[in-house]
């Protein structure tokens, strides 16, 4: 066999491998994207078209009406003012919860790696443990705690005329998500800071920087990749959470998006408006999609960095 045919068969093998890999990738991509595609096309169709046409076909007369209706008019339970209020509810909950849990996680990671104290491994171990506690098992204890916080808020109302946020369902959800997220954010930051050079902290100490000055001026500015990872992770989890949301703010004014969406779909008056439901679901998914697109390239990079160094 000559060298030429050898290399030709080598090329051929590589070619077949490529085709197989890309073929599989494309197949799975289609599989994963199919539901999204159906949701998107349905949300632009009229009800007539949905009832008479094919689920996969493109809309004949694309319309934005379902989107407007979902945003401003559709019924959630008994109130028919669209999902816009609940969208803001979710944002009001997610932004503080993500910010607080990320900052606290960074502080924890900073202390656990750069200001080690006797027993720091035990503390970290316990925090890690928090990552494995199932949601369901904290539901009732947490409800009790939130109940006492609510009574405390009531007492404050009587004494000084305001609750200071105690007992407010949005505040409650922020507290729950911060506590539940702390294990994860601490894990992320601790592993990142473990590989962060100690000498930088020492140099800053000699330079006269205090504990918080080092954190703010040296640690945080050099933590972008892990901050992005943490924010994406926390944002997606908290935004998509249904269990805590329905348990602690399942009805009334402060209901988050996920619970509202469920109520939209379950509203049983008249025909089921698939196009409006799909549009509402798309709106509900929008923020997480946006966060991924904006920060996604850091996500992969950040995960890699953590994996290799941590």
């Amino acid at each position: 066999m000559s060298a030429a045919t050898l290399s030709a068969s080598g090329n051929q093998n590589r070619w077949i491998g490529r085709v197989a890999i890309y073929g599989l990738l494309i197949l799975f991509a289609i599989l994963y994207l199919m539901p999204l595609f159906v949701m998107l096309v349905t949300s632009f169709k009229t009800m007539d078209e949905i009832q008479n046409g094919n689920m996969l076909s493109l809309p004949q007369a694309p319309t934005l009406d379902p989107w407007f209706k979902a945003w401003g008019e559709t019924c959630v339970g008994l109130t028919c003012a669209g999902i816009k209020g609940y969208f803001w509810n979710s944002l009001k909950m997610v932004v503080p919860a993500v910010a607080i849990s990320t900052i606290l996680g960074a502080l924890n990671g900073y202390v656990l790696t750069k200001w080690r104290f006797p027993g720091h491994t035990l503390v970290f171990g316990l925090m890690l443990f928090a990552c494995f506690i199932p949601f369901q098992s904290v539901l009732l204890p947490m409800a009790t705690i939130l109940g006492s916080l609510g009574r405390f808020g009531m007492a404050l109302q009587d004494q000084i005329g305001m609750t200071l946020g105690f007992g407010n369902p949005t505040v409650n959800l922020v507290i729950v998500h911060v506590i539940y997220g702390l294990g994860f954010t601490t894990l992320f930051f601790r592993n990142y800071y473990e590989a962060f050079p100690n000498e930088l902290v020492r140099a800053a100490q000699v330079d006269g920087a205090s504990f918080f000055q080092i954190f703010r001026r040296i640690m945080l500015p050099n933590s972008l990749p892990i901050i992005v990872v943490t924010v994406i992770y926390q944002f997606t989890n908290i935004w998509n959470d249904f269990l805590f949301a329905s348990a602690y703010a399942g009805s009334g004014e402060s209901m988050p998006m996920t619970v509202a969406l469920n109520n939209v779909v379950n509203t049983s008056t008249g025909v089921v408006e698939y196009n409006v439901n799909m549009a509402a679901a798309m709106i509900a998914a929008m923020p997480t999609l946006l966060v991924y697109i904006v920060a996604g390239r850091y996500f992969v990079r950040g995960l890699m960095a953590g994996a290799v160094k941590g």
Binding site: R202, A203, A204, Q205, V206, D207, G208, S210, P221, N222
Partner: protein, 371 residues
Amino acid sequence: MAFLHISGLRKRYGALEILKGIDIELEKGGFLVLVGPSGCGKSTLLNTIAGLETITEGDIKVDERSIAGLHPSKRDIAMVFQSYALYPNMTVAGNIAFGMEMRGVPADERKQAIDKVAKVLQIGHLLDRKPSQLSGGQRQRVAMGRALVRDPKLFLFDEPLSNLDAKLRVDMRTEIKRLHQTTGKTIVYVTHDQIEAMTLATKIAVMKEGIVQQFGTPAEIYNNPANMFVADFMGSPAMNLLSGRITRADDGLAVALERAGGEAIRLPVAAAQAALAQYENRDVVFGIRPEALTDPEGADRNASALAENDCLIEVVEPAGSDTFAVTKLGGREVVARLRADARIRAGEMARLAFNLDKAVFFDPQTQARIA
């Protein structure tokens, strides 16, 4: 009075003792170099002076005042780290100014100080760059700048040149020496390069396993090593350490060394007869530096005790300025340093002059110096 005074310093991590009683006194304007093999505790000692590690026992005084309990920022020290430890998120100017900023120095004063230091270190054109955009030598200078700008009582350097290539290293060494001479600051400097130690120091502390083996001027350390470890560690090529036997003849004590290609060499012992007398008919370690073992023409004219002997040359290594010859004495390879144009050839006998003024003797068991 000593400016830096370390007394009875011990450092333990749990049961593990890293520093085992360090005593050092350094005068004002002195340049103390800590040398020793990797892991002997040099960085740990430096960090205790900086306050980055707590001390288990003992005390550190600067200018008659104990600094042992003070926070690093209150000790009036500046430190250059082995890895430079430049803040990656700040520009060069930001790095240099950070310490002043933390101490509340007004912005215009900071600017002046930066410009002054930048001029000395020739980094004026780099001030707006980030550390990642600098070469190794430039980073090193920025790290020095960050320390220099502060005008502290004490400078601490932890192997600042170890990451540089050979050429740059020599340049920066000269730079540091000049800096010390012009500013007259007190410096403690860690290295495990003994040439750096010899050229820079006014005092050297040779450490091993958390103990100072010898503390003295470079000349003392080089010419009068306190034990075999110091003798072997300082100097390049290292001192020849060979086993010999003390014998008595009519003309006094002598040391006998086995020689390849002939009977043993007997070298009369010039000084310290008393100390060596106790070792009569016992083995000792005979130490002689390569430059004290040379061709008769190149030998030191002022030496009071020269002995010439024929030795079988095994290898000849011309090194430009000198020629190194390897022979075998006392069962060990011995390096002699000859003039560049000395006429010797491998495999032949050659006449070598032993400068016995410079010879030292050690006890083979305790490794301590006898004479």
